[in-house]
């Protein structure tokens, strides 16, 4: 196992290196001027020139690239051009928000998706099955912003159940969870759909297995048997779906973060793009890629643990 993890980790190094280079080059060929973006349109030409010089923006690209790699090698993501703070700090300050949002969405996906997936499978082709399948297809098809808009209009404005600003400046854990519900639900709808579909087909596979059929034919209490197996087998689709769609989840989180005005990786990426804050943008892209690589690795490991039929490569 350890050697497998090590091998997988090693194999991600060239990928990460490629990512670094792509990010570095792409950002620097982008139009727009960090000096103007940062100092404002009323800044004098002298001030702009001075800023560019100070930030090393006048250095040749290859020199900037070298500095960038040197920084990284020493474990630093550099310093933000806008705030002057270490990029690692900015990332660390928003990362929990994105993670709690993503996990919140996955949580909703599981508690809603798994039961209805199993129910669908048990009453296959019954009206409940049809109903849930249509609902899940709708869930898959709902554009993220439409869900968010409708949820806000109903739950925040009409019924006043949840606040619109989902990030309190203080408050305890419960407050934080309470504030997370609406955005997580909004982002989680697509996960509900994916997990429901996976759970359903996994269940159908299980129900098709000989031992279940035999058990049922022998008059064993069918429901209990199915639920017992279902719960064990539900783990597989969850792991699969989380691994497959984690990138999509983090991507869609950008929209959730914008609409709910939450801090997060995606929102900070859009912000740094706007401000041409090269260093922060680099850091964010690297961290988000790293996150996906890690999740993929974890998924593979979980998959191997949960389902002994899958042999490690």
């Amino acid at each position: 196992m350890a050697s497998y993890i090590l091998k997988r980790l090693m194999s991600t190094i060239p990928t990460l290196f490629g990512i670094l280079t792509i990010v570095f080059v792409m950002i620097r060929i982008a139009p727009g001027d960090p000096a103007l973006a940062i100092l404002g349109d009323n800044a004098s030409q002298e001030a702009l020139d001075a800023f560019r010089e100070r930030m090393g923006l006048n250095d040749p690209m290859i020199v900037q690239y070298w500095d960038f790699l040197k920084d990284l090698a020493s474990g630093s993501l550099g310093v933000s051009m806008v705030t002057g703070k270490p990029v690692a700090d900015s990332v660390a300050s928003v990362l929990p928000f994105t993670l709690e949002l993503a996990f919140g969405a996955i949580f909703f996906g599981i508690i809603i998706g798994v039961p209805i997936g199993i129910i669908s499978a048990i009453w296959r082709n019954g009206w409940l099955d049809y109903f849930f399948r249509v609902v899940s297809l709708l869930g898959l098809s709902f554009p993220a912003f439409l869900t968010a808009i409708l949820l806000i209009l109903w739950l925040s404005i009409e019924w006043r159940i949840f606040p619109v600003i989902s990030t309190p400046t203080g408050g305890g854990l419960w407050d934080r969870i309470y504030n997370l519900i609406l955005p997580a639900l909004s982002l989680g709808i697509i996960m509900v759909a994916y997990i429901m579909r996976s759970a359903r087909s996994a269940m159908l596979d299980v129900m098709g297995e000989d031992y279940i059929r035999t058990a049922r034919a022998k008059g064993a209490p069918g429901r209990r048997l199915i639920w017992h197996h279902a719960l064990r087998n539900a783990l597989i689709p969850i792991v699969t779906v989380v691994g497959l769609y984690f990138g999509l989840l983090i991507g869609n989180a950008v929209l959730t973060e914008i609409i709910f005005n939450r801090p997060g990786l995606g929102k900070l990426i859009v912000l740094s793009l706007n401000q041409r804050d090269y260093t922060t943008l680099q850091g964010l892209m690297i961290v988000s890629a790293l996150m996906i690589v890690i999740v993929n690795l974890l998924t593979d490991l979980c998959y191997a643990l949960v389902d002994p039929r899958v042999k490690l490569k």
Binding site: P14, T15, L16, G18, I19, I22, M26, I27, I29, A30, P31, Y130, R133, V134, L137, L138, L140, S141, F142, P143, A144, F145, L146, I149, L150, L153, I157, R197, S198, R200, S201, L204, I236, T240, G247, L248, L249, I250, G251, N252, A253, V254, L255, I258, G266, I269, V270, L273, M285, S288, A289, I292, V293, Y303
Partner: protein
């Protein structure tokens, strides 16, 4: 996760499959009809649209439904219904073009990687891994933000986003297929690699790829809408569904219909494609139920 390792060479012809699909899966047939209606509405937009989609009427801005404007008007007093029809054209064109491009390029790369193996395989798949390592929407966002928001760049961004998925799906069965007798035979006959890949391998993976394409087309259309929503869409006054939603978002409290109608248009297109994709998947391989 049992995606594509089961290859079934004795497949029925596409026509038969479609018939089977129509008979067995009413939902998908419904989806197909819905999609065709939407496509026709988009094609014949100039005939159907009651108003010029670009004609502004500042004095009649942000009006709700009325006989004159059946889905109301937007910020500039333009007719929302007409703009949705024209917007569908652009959104469909972007979504479908990028899906087809991604399908062709992705499959080509996947087949080459799978067939050739070795370092070519490593290089191609590493590159795909790099692309997959970014959160889905972020890749597109980054590309459009850097290159500029216009039709070509948006198509490019979406293509790059979904291309690796096709490459992966094409690669796995290729590895299995290249060991099969009929490929061995073709090689023994001295056929060129290119010919084998194009004539013997590609047709055998077309089924899975088409299923995937219909599902990813649905996603491509959503990416376009998302990018437009973030402000990285095709330049106005050209209407696209995402831009319309974005424009209306500022008035979400007092005139929610401005965003919500185009939002539902996106929903319908995506839903119809998802229904079709689902049905196709069942028809081509009942085992591939996701």
């Amino acid at each position: 996760m049992t995606t594509v390792d089961t290859i079934n060479p004795e497949k029925r012809s596409t026509g038969e499959q479609l018939l089977r699909l129509a008979r067995k899966n009413k939902l998908s047939t419904f989806g197909l009809i819905m999609f065709l209606v939407i496509v026709l509405a988009a094609i014949f937009a100039p005939l159907i649209a009651p108003h010029d989609p670009l004609e502004q009427n500042i004095l009649a801005r942000l009006q709700d439904r009325s006989p004159e404007y059946i889905l109301g008007t937007d910020t500039f007093g333009r007719d929302t219904f007409s703009r949705i029809l024209y917007g569908l054209r652009i959104s469909l064109l972007i979504g479908l073009t990028s899906t087809v491009l991604a399908m062709i390029l992705g499959c080509a790369l996947g087949i080459i990687a799978g067939y050739r193996g070795g370092w070519i395989d490593s290089v191609i798949m590493r590159c795909m891994d790099m692309l997959l390592a970014f959160p889905t929407l972020i890749t597109g966002l980054f590309i459009v933000a850097v290159l500029g928001a216009n039709f070509v760049n948006i198509v490019l961004a979406i293509t790059v986003t979904i291309l690796p998925k096709f490459a992966r799906v094409a690669r796995a069965p290729t590895i299995a297929l290249k060991e099969r007798e009929f490929v061995e035979a073709a090689r023994a006959l001295g056929f060129s690699d290119l010919r084998i890949m194009a004539l013997h391998i590609a047709p055998n993976i077309v089924g899975e790829v088409v299923v995937l394409a219909s599902l990813w087309a649905a996603y491509a259309i959503r990416i376009e809408a998302y990018l437009s929503f973030i402000g990285l869409g095709v330049a106005p006054p050209t209407p696209t569904l995402g831009t319309m939603i974005r424009d209306g978002f500022e008035h979400i409290l007092d005139a929610p219909f401005v965003s919500i109608y185009p939002g539902f248009a996106v929903l319908l297109v995506v839903l119809s494609l998802n229904l079709v994709g689902d049905g196709l998947r069942d028809a081509i391989d009942p085992k591939l139920r996701d």
